[in-house]
Point group: D2
């Protein structure tokens, strides 16, 4: 960040001590059109950022404070990285003049009944729920541009919907027979203290979790239902594996009559032509998470299946970037009338 | 190994310098009824075992020699850990008095035309091919007992067939709609020098490989076709990930009419009751590769799918043990009239 | 464990839900002369072992109970895997008829003042402290044989003292100029919930911790001081790195006048000749933690330094086996008059 | 890279298919004052960059060619990422008008006799050797500015010399008693096919290598000897561990009479005040490689030792950035009169 900050968009980050907060800071530190004016982290209030994230100790940013201490007149845009559930009340209490980019799940589900079912309580800000725009940027660009409150999609739903929505809209796959086998790195589970997130519980292993009851399933289904024009249910099976970043979605689809895997590829190539962050990889190339690590890119591959009338669609993203903080900034850029790719030009860190 | 080796079965290991060779040595070192009398490794001929595997330097075993130098009168059983393709000629040249446990793919496919199609050349020992017993032990115990030549199943096929064969035999799933998404540790790819096996190409990443053309697909299909009584094709999609050992198979199946996920579970529980190495884990528990690391166990779980009329079957194994050398020893024990679990009692090494 | 358990030594494990508890269970499960009769884990009391360690769910062992519920008449030997500080009171309350193998730090420091200084409180069982034998087996075999209470050495102190004590006793190195740079896998830090033990905080990184104030320093110094016959202080610098198991100690020593690196090697070779678990590797070979993973072995290497009159001594162990539970069992075997290696014959799990 | 490339410095990268080549491309892709006009990779000549590095497939750069095919009139600066030994002849054959930044070891050792001893053959371009500037940027800034040929320091020597040179110059440590225990990620070993670089040989382990004969020792000694004004020999012991990037150097030093650890700290703080890429971390903070991953930063910490009159100095860097390609660009910026930090502003990728 340069020291000349006049005219810059003033940015607040709420809940800056988690991984999505760190990732916002990493990316925004060199965003030429913003300045960071507010950082909150209730448990770490009073500390310098470097006490929580030593790798960012040299950044010129304000000290961490409690949300209750925030002077909202200092901000134009708020990134909200708070836990699910508490977020809705915090955002409801913010001045309406602030643009809000929320990285929690609180405003992702448009249907408050679905929300209540999956999160175990009635939504506490249903008006905001209605106002919120679901920020899967490539598929909602114009709505995001006009939005005041954007819900950043979950990491898994981003990786699943980007390839699937265009295929369903094109009626090239059977929307009632979709299996999404997703493999995620550990940052997707956040920085909370849980035994199953300890190094020694994770290294040298893989397992499925929340089988058939993962909260990202209704979010994926919401997007696919919109694309299909009718309610869609999917198999979404998430796995945790020993890497920091990355989601690989291996998606198994049944082809519509007369459709070939090449047709799927053509649809996706056309849909994402010109998109800076979504790329369909060449035929025969297998998208790998290591090729998007640290970048805002999504890679999509399409393969014919040995099973007749089926295809395999693979997508890879970095869960902390396109799956969270990168997409959040992409949305902010649009909401603020800035070029969409600003601050997001990093190449993947390979190896 | 004790020094009193009279009456022990004399074991030769061909190709002892690879990972399956090392794993045989690890397990056989404390097998009370065998002694190791011959070790070959053409590229390392003349060396002590410790030069290739320092962790085994203290074992009292013979020096590595070339296959051509082997005195077959010193062995009762031969474990063959040679590359695919060359194996068949080596085994064809062995004295008929030897029992042979082959860990390559050379004798796994009963149909020589299928072999030729997937391996690119006509089989060079079709008579042996006919003689060979496919050693998926729990499903072929009696045939293994009588066999002279056993083909040890591939690592992926073991993890896939153990749960699927009983379900197909029970006609509880649609054998034409099976999707097997498998995640493997790197030892499954062997010890050969390939760029994509370097640490820095693998760590912090995951990707699918050989999509829709992996050679383990026809092997899985062979077993499932036998179970179904008709030709079966499956989706088998393999992924490589950063761990040494382990395969997790996430298998997506369509239920037969009137069948529930609980029925699948009941079938598997019944089928594997009393089996020392195959366990159906309790409802709600997700099989994890870390819980079988270094052991000959296979864990199987069954979950209802959110998609109606579908279920999810998960299986975990150590690819080097039950997926290779452990199952090889299990078969040898049967072939030699020894208790099947001898030498295979190790618990998983967790963490 | 066989079902015929008469005449077997009856073993209790206190604090069975941590990693050293799991490792004791892994190893004792196939120890032919013991049976496990008591398992405690206060937070998990009432649960089956499989709820805490799914990989051990098939073992025939008692349910987990609270320590307060234990019927001590059921046990002959107690392994104590409780946290530092609470251990001393638990052990003080045990019937004197029980043999006790303690894996905590509570009885390792013979000098109660040193204990008080490093652990922040006066020792609460000083009589037991005096009774306890420091169980670095190879260097204290006879005392262990006669002991009722053995303190199992810490993981780092085991890896450091085994090579250093003989060299100091032989007066071949300057005991006042010893630098021990140790690198440890994460299980050494236990199973407690701490942010810096989360997978994403550890993977892809290394750092030193507790620099110049690690509690294993006084323990190492106690052993070296005994060997030297005068107080010794050392540099002991511990590092945490992304692996589950293993400690590599790179030890930098100054040679006594007229001593060569070859002399150090000769001393260690002679000292550990015939030892089943300690091996000096051949000249030029670098001890690697992967070659002792899961085994009770320690590998020691000696190299000349480029600095004149200095040498480099490297030692590798598995911190959970020789550095904790393996050495605990080795001691128990001696205390009970069983062959020392019983139950400890596993080879390293490589890869 | 923007499409308007007039006035930009035209950059060639020789040997672009290795890890340092990839890292140069990652960083240069968004360097605002250069354009990439030439890429060579003899084994991959004719291929697009994306065939070798899929993560960079979207960059607008020329196809890979053989060195022999290069049109040198297209370049102003050449980065040379070729193997040691061949580099010197390639560079000798380049037009003198080109500025050259060499990442090999060929021009690092000023004394051709030392070179011959450690690399096994006489230097083939001794005149260039004399011309070359050793580009440890912070310590050679003015010389680099005027240089035509810069030898980029090795990864280990960078991490070792940055803390040690100022301390030796200040006569605060005994230059004859320095022990450097370095731990490196695997990219430091390059992309060549060697068995000991396979994932399964590296994961879950650590070991020292090239003990007392690593080629970076004379390079470190050269820099320290210059600082001391007399020949210095050091202990440099390198270890390989399972991470992609990062070097942690744990350096053990003896204090000069009357010097305290606080004095060392003060010297380093003063020496690196104002440096954009070198930071002395606060007292008590332990430099961690994860906090520099992907960035050009070096973190240095100083701790008092328990051994009297000794201190511990820790330094962390990313071996591919400050240890190779980042420092190479830093040097190029100076050589071309560009602001030194241009293109190097990335924050560390944590987690």
């Amino acid at each position: 960040m340069s020291s000349t900050t006049s005219n810059r968009i003033r940015v607040a980050i709420l809940g800056a001590s988690g991984y999505t907060g760190a990732e916002l800071l990493r990316l925004l530190a060199h965003h030429p059109q913003i300045e960071i004016t507010l950082l909150t982290a209730d448990r770490h209030a009073g500390q310098e950022l470097g006490a929580v994230f030593p790798h960012l100790a040299h950044l010129k940013v304000p000290r961490l404070i409690k949300i209750a201490e925030a002077d909202w007149s200092k901000a134009d845009v708020v990134f909200c990285c708070l836990p699910h559930g508490t977020t809705q009340e915090v955002i409801a209490a913010l001045p309406r003049a602030l643009k809000v980019v929320d990285l929690s799940a609180d405003f992702r589900l448009a249907d408050v009944d679905v929300y209540a079912k999956w999160y175990g309580h009635a939504h506490r800000a249903p008006d905001l729920q209605r106002e919120a725009v679901y920020g899967l940027t490539e598929l909602a660009r114009e709505a995001v541009r006009r939005a005041r409150l954007v819900a950043v999609p979950g990491c898994y739903p981003t990786a699943a919907q980007l390839p699937l929505v265009p295929l369903i809209e094109a009626k090239q796959i059977d929307a009632d027979d979709i299996i999404i086998d997703a493999k995620s790195g550990m940052t997707g589970a956040g920085r909370a203290l849980k035994e199953d997130m300890l190094f020694s519980e994770v290294a040298e292993g893989i397992h499925a979790y929340s089988v058939a009851k993962h909260r990202h399933a209704p979010e994926i289904e919401q997007g696919l239902s919109q694309a299909a024009g009718r309610p869609i249910v999917v198999n979404f099976t998430a796995h945790l594996m020993p890497m920091n970043r990355g989601i690989l979605s291996s998606i198994y689809v049944r082809l519509a009559n007369g459709t070939t895997p090449a047709d799927l590829r053509a649809t996706l190539v056309k849909r994402y032509a010109g998109e800076p962050f979504v790329r369909v990889v060449p035929e025969g190339v297998s998208p790998a998470t290591r090729h998007v690590r640290g970048s805002n890119h999504v890679l999509i591959g399409v393969f014919a299946d040995r099973l007749p009338r089926r295809a395999i669609v693979l997508s890879a993203e970095d869960n902390l970037v396109k799956g969270a903080s990168g997409q959040a900034i992409q949305n902010m850029n649009l909401m603020c009338g800035i070029a969409e790719t600003t601050g997001l030009a990093q190449e993947a860190l390979f190896p």
